[in-house]
């Protein structure tokens, strides 16, 4: 009745106080963290109050209806009971759905501890990823952090885009961006999962987050190599970078894995697979997505012709020409 209409209004008042910024009528998701005044507790209280009021009414009606027909009262009581149960059920379902949706949002907070880094730490880890460790008999510590690897993957995507644009790769199914993102994220997530599975088979002491972190930081070498060789198109330079830079980062990952594995066969399997995948990925990225400048290559490598030949098109011809002539003169003077 009229008594009930006042209660929901007062309950909803708590909701208003949580609104941020007087100007916008938007529910700020950040405030959902604070569950006081959230609508479901209000619903719970409202429901409780309605239950209590109904019980009072039922008692009142029972008192008033004593003179009435007993059977009629029985029917009315049963109806009230059933409808109350149905309403209760509906509220339970609604509450369950809402808490499921809420926990989906709260999943972002699960990732929070993996992003708890300082810039100094990130820089230190980047440099460390190129330095192979000497001590392989003692399990090396791997930081389970996802900020650095994620940023490295995005940087690799950006570099790949640059390479694809300058090589005029024409993607028929899908877009340039989709291919770049798919390649890089696919490598990071896919190879990490595969290596984690192998590590599980080989009894290595490593968790999934650590594997993701290790492989992610290993992409730092790839980023450097590709950044340099997409702009300066010398195959010999690429091979040197591939061996040195790629090799260093692979050696570090391999050493860390070896330090966490027991048994020769297992160590061999894990390290062989990781080294092969890592180095082959760099090779693939270079040859699939870069521009081959015909004239310069012909003079430098006779028998070593790469399988891909693309006709150079015009995009930043100037920058490439400048860089190539600089590199050539440096190579000639050395």
């Amino acid at each position: 009745g009229s008594g009930r209409s006042g209660a929901p209004g007062a309950e909803w008042g708590g909701f208003e106080d949580n609104m941020q910024g007087g100007g916008s009528a938007v529910i700020d998701m950040e405030n959902m963290d604070d569950t006081s005044g959230s609508s479901f507790e209000d619903m719970g209280e409202m429901h409780q109050r309605m239950k209590e009021e109904e019980e009072e009414e039922a008692e009142g009606e029972a008192g008033a209806g004593e003179e009435e027909d007993g059977e009629f009262l029985g029917m009315k009581g049963l109806r009230g009971q059933l409808s109350r149960q149905v309403a209760d059920q509906m509220w339970q379902v609604g509450k369950r759905q809402a808490s499921r949706a809420f926990s989906l949002y709260a999943n972002i907070d699960i990732l929070r501890p993996y992003f708890d880094v300082e810039p100094v730490q990130v820089r230190a880890r980047l440099l460390e990823s190129m330095i192979p460790v000497k001590m392989i008999n003692f399990p090396q510590k791997i930081a389970g952090e996802l900020y650095g690897p994620l940023m490295l993957v995005f940087t690799l995507v950006a570099i790949l885009l640059h390479g694809m644009k300058t090589s005029d790769t024409i993607i028929r199914e899908g877009t340039l961006m989709g291919t770049a993102i798919g390649t890089c994220f696919g490598y990071w997530l896919g190879v990490s999962s595969f290596m984690y599975f192998l590590a599980y088979l080989c009894n290595a002491q490593i968790t999934m987050v650590q594997m993701l972190s290790l492989l992610g930081y290993g992409l730092f070498g790839h980023c450097i190599t590709l950044f340099v060789t997409y702009n300066i198109h010398f195959h010999s330079l690429f091979y040197i970078f591939w061996l040195v830079v790629g090799g260093l980062s692979t050696l570090r990952m391999v050493a860390v894995l070896v330090s966490r594995t027991v048994g020769h066969t297992q160590r061999l399997i894990l390290c062989g697979t990781l080294a092969a995948l890592h180095m082959l990925f760099l090779l693939y990225l270079h040859f699939a997505y870069h521009k081959v400048v015909e004239g310069i290559l012909d003079t430098l490598e006779g028998p070593n012709m790469p399988p891909f030949q693309r006709v150079a098109r015009d995009i930043p011809v100037v920058s490439n020409a400048v860089l190539n002539t600089t590199a050539k003169t440096i190579a000639l003077t050395l």
Binding site: S5, E16, Q20, M29, L111, F154, T155, L161
Partner: protein
Amino acid sequence: FPGLADVSISQDIPVEGEITVPVGSHSPDEDYSTLDEPVKDTIMRDLKAVGKKFVHVMYPRKSSALLRDWDLWGPLVLCVSLALMLQGGSADSKDDGGPQFAEVFVIIWFGAVVITLNSKLLGGTISFFQSLCVLGYCVMPLTVAMLVCRLVLLAGAGTVSFIVRLIVVGAMFGWSTLASTAFLADSQPPNRKALVVYPIFLFYFVISWMILTFTPQ
């Protein structure tokens, strides 16, 4: 269950109440509603708000107006115009026109979402849509750069035009990054600003790169 056919919940448990959402706390009149005003007033008010935010991007000062009353109209307009201008460049086959528009759209919005999530995970105090709003509005200098590039390319594509475009795009890229970090970096703990600035730098770098390597057919 024959008795259930007669059960109607609305009779026994009515749910009543009022839900009032405050539109503007500065309006003294409680019955004021913007539903009754002429359409021109609504449009002019929204246009003025969008215009004020553009001015804030042009001269990035520490003001909270951009953050407080966020809206996504400006970013949408900028994104669509940038995507339209970038369409149809450096493509051989005729079916490359479509994906390029979608590409730019997806890059901008996906990139903005990732940066926002990153800044929230690093402990930022800014909300999701506020961050999207700032990042979207700060694409404006790059849209201006795209316009200038197109005009320069009309005059011919050579060394000089490339250098001019490089300078213009570089300057606008710096401006975008500075403007957005002026708004976003304040919401972070002070020793982690670099961690938030780097993805923003990468984001605008990718967009600038797309603008710079654009060649019309």
